[in-house]
């Protein structure tokens, strides 16, 4: 098999970049495995508990870039108890002890401590990039350590983390010699920051391409910053509030019009509608626009803005845009590929102005659409069938009716046929999330047609075990299945226990599975961790017939984890 010297193989493997392809390469033969593992620089671990850090380090000594994910997805919606786990410290400690020359670390849904950040900051002299998404457990003190010690820092990207803001001077900790920043995202910081330090940092970062500010940065500071960064391509504003006749606003309008490189715009965490016209000159170049935090904007403001955005490929917006606004999007944004419509919340404000009408309009106007997240007041089968016909290219399709068991708004029937049309038409569908009134039938369709489906989210759906069985038996490529408040039980769970080793994880909460069935599963499949979390926390009723509140199972080579809290019971 091996006719080439290792160097040639390695050179060829350099062109193989996706994780899955590299994993496949490593399975061909022993020498390919060896060459691949020594040359691998980027490693992705979808579940931090599936393998030990030591083993990863041993296999990939050339590791430079590591991505780790911790808590299950439903942790985003408060379904996972707070101290469940997902700690990054064992990873950082193991990496620090080894001779790995770590340069990039990306973490999602993990618990990160200041100590870990500090250890990270001085253990890796070539460390360049830190991306934290939906993480928690650290403060601005940890950020100060990163700023102070990572001399070659290129990216500091903090997305939607829970950070304890000590309102210190952490931005001051970037030394004067630090001029390497390319990307800085501090939008999720809740406290004040030292504006002078920020301006000075930006002024000495000639390579800065992406800058996302937090709420504490006012309009006049933004203007001064933009004066220094005409090369910026990705901007997140902080507070976009001022009097329309103020000098700061006048200057800003002028400065912004010179920023011809900006193609991605977000922020507006605070915004006055009358200040919005300042960004109009940017609109015709924008490919990405995220206004999903701009609570201060009405549908009419949004429509006026979007009319200018002819090149838009990605749009994240609030449902205040309404169906009429979505019609404007459909007419204007012919290149649209990804759309997310978030709910404005809270419920008391009345029904959402987004319904199936807006989605149908989008499907007509934007045939390139492949990723959708859509919160709406109501949906119909007819609309979904039309969308499926107009947009056969969906890769990700997530629909959320605000009332989770709402039937077809016209016919009062379940939405089975509509979602069935989606899976039948969209042969490349990889991720699906459904809501509305749904019977076992929709799962029959999913099992039959959704051949590429990798992730499925189910809530308040189905009627019997058959539903879950259709999915487990039919979807050959399913990797992540998460189910809540649905009547699936032991029969479905135990039907094909080997299946779970082909998947990353299964989550079931408020379903019909009992403790006894989970024990049986754990006994039959020693390489799965079957975790039970019950409401009553510490006291586990040992009655096998009792239903479990939450079950999370995942394949793992490390066995039962040692950091599980008292209320998590690994069977």
């Amino acid at each position: 098999m091996n006719y080439f010297p290792d160097e040639v193989l390695e050179h060829v493997f350099d062109y193989v970049t996706s994780h899955r392809d590299r994993n496949a390469v490593s399975l061909v033969c022993k020498s390919w495995y060896r060459v691949e593992r020594c040359s691998r620089q980027r490693v992705f671990i979808g579940n931090c508990y599936s393998i030990s850090p030591e083993r990863v380090i041993q296999r990939f000594p050339g590791l430079k870039s590591l991505t780790l994910k911790g808590k299950p997805h439903f942790a985003d919606f408060n379904l996972v108890p707070h101290e469940w786990g997902g700690y990054v410290s064992p990873w950082i400690e193991a990496l620090a002890k080894s001779r790995v020359g770590l340069e990039e670390l990306k973490l999602k849904r993990m618990v990160v401590s200041d100590d870990s950040l500090e250890l990270l900051s001085y253990s890796f002299p070539n460390f360049k990039s830190l991306v934290l998404v939906s993480c928690e457990g650290f403060t601005t003190d940890g950020l100060a350590a990163i700023a102070a010690n990572c001399r070659l820092l290129r990216d500091l990207d903090l997305q939607e983390n829970e950070i304890d803001d000590h309102r210190g001077q952490w931005l001051n900790c970037f030394p004067d010699s630090c001029t390497s920043l390319v990307s800085l995202n501090i939008a999720c910081l809740k406290g004040d920051i030292n504006l002078g330090a920020l301006e000075r940092l930006v002024a000495r970062s000639p390579n800065l391409k992406s800058l996302k500010l937090n709420r504490a940065v006012p309009l006049d500071t933004l203007q001064r910053i933009l004066m220094r960064t005409p090369q910026l391509t990705d901007l997140g504003t902080g507070s976009f509030v001022d009097e329309p006749d103020s000098e700061a606003y006048f200057k800003l309008k002028h400065t912004i019009s010179k920023c011809r490189s900006i193609t991605s715009l977000c922020g507006f965490l605070e915004v006055s509608p009358h200040c919005l016209p300042a960004v109009y000159p940017l609109c015709s170049n924008l490919t990405s626009l995220n206004l999903s935090y701009a609570v201060g904007l009405q549908g009419s403001d949004l429509m006026k803005l979007i009319r200018h955005c002819v090149k838009l490929q990605r749009l994240w917006i609030l449902d205040s845009i309404g169906d009429d606004g979505l019609c404007v999007v459909a007419c204007t944004c012919k290149d649209l590929q990804e759309l997310r419509v978030f709910p404005s919340l809270p419920f008391e404000a009345g029904p959402s102005p987004v319904t199936e009408r807006g989605l149908v309009a989008i499907s007509v106007g934007c045939p390139k659409l492949h990723s959708l997240l859509y919160f709406c007041q109501q949906m119909t089968n007819a609309a979904l069938i039309t969308v499926a016909k107009n947009c056969p290219n969906f890769i990700r399709f997530r629909l959320c009716t605000l009332d989770p068991t709402k039937p077809d708004a016209d016919t009062m029937q379940p939405l089975d046929e509509g979602f069935g049309a989606i899976v039948q038409s969209c042969r490349r569908l990889r991720r699906l999330s459904m809501s509305g009134l749904l019977t076992d039938r929709v799962f029959l369709y999913i099992g039959m047609y959704a051949e590429q489906l990798e992730m499925l989210s189910v809530a308040f759906a189905g009627e019997s075990d058959k539903g879950m069985l259709y999915v487990l038996n039919g979807c050959k490529k399913i990797r992540k299945l998460e189910i809540r408040d649905s009547p699936f039980g032991n029969m479905a769970l135990l039907n094909d226990v080997g299946k779970y080793e082909t998947m990353r994880s299964l989550w079931m909460s408020s379903c019909e599975v009992t403790l006894g069935a989970c024990k049986t599963l754990a006994r039959k499949m020693p390489r799965l961790n079957v975790e039970i979390m019950n409401e009553n926390e510490v006291e586990f009723n040992l009655d096998d017939a009792q239903k479990v509140d939450r079950m999370y199972l995942y394949r793992s080579l490390t066995g039962k984890r040692k950091d599980a809290p008292d209320f998590v019971w690994t069977l």
Partner: protein, 188 residues
């Protein structure tokens, strides 16, 4: 895949605007049949806390608050809430304080919060006779109003600052229990 009939239409759902939960309750069996078999699964209604809408509006959306529904990240929910800080002045105290009105969901919570913030004073005394401090606020029009008359959300929207007047100065007596009753009838 033709839209075959999956059973008789749900004839009981005559009024579209009225949310009839029984019909949306999941049962074992095809929709439209009457197979209400006993099952211990939970219908959506059992997992939620419903606050009935006021009878004057026919709002079809239930104010359902199931845990984790709608599925929106906490960080996004918190950002939506925003914050509304207003100054609070108390007669006789040298320094003003600030409270975030968005942190509270009712007048009762606000008054409790203010009591805690200012230590020993009582804003409404529980027995209702002789309140110590009267809560007043300045609204958008610049008028000084008595706290408690309008629905909570409207108050948060229009309140610019709060002032706790010593009772003798205001000359009015409104009991806290009265305020609680008012909140109940307004559906806050």
């Amino acid at each position: 895949m033709s839209p075959e009939s999956t059973g008789t239409a749900r004839s009981a759902m005559s009024d579209v605007t009225e949310l009839n939960l029984k019909e949306t309750e999941l049962t074992l069996g095809l929709p439209g049949t009457n197979n209400i078999t006993t099952s211990s699964k939970r219908a959506f209604s059992e997992t939620t806390v419903f606050t009935p809408t006021s009878s004057s509006t026919s709002n079809p959306a239930p104010k359902a608050q199931a845990v984790g529904w709608p599925p929106v990240r906490a960080s996004r929910k918190n950002a939506m809430r925003g914050c509304k800080y207003v100054k609070v002045a108390v007669d006789g105290a040298p320094y003003l304080r600030k409270v975030d009105l968005e942190k509270y969901e009712s007048y009762d919570q606000l008054l409790t919060g203010l009591e805690a913030m200012f230590g020993s004073l009582t804003i409404r005394n529980h027995l209702g006779n002789g309140a110590e401090y009267m809560p007043t606020y300045e609204d958008k029009d610049g008028d000084w109003m008595l706290v408690g008359d309008v629905p909570w959300k409207m108050f948060v929207e229009s309140c610019k600052r709060i002032r706790l007047l010593k009772s003798e100065a205001s000359g009015l007596e409104i009991r806290r229990t009265e305020l609680k009753l008012k909140e109940k009838t307004c559906g806050n």
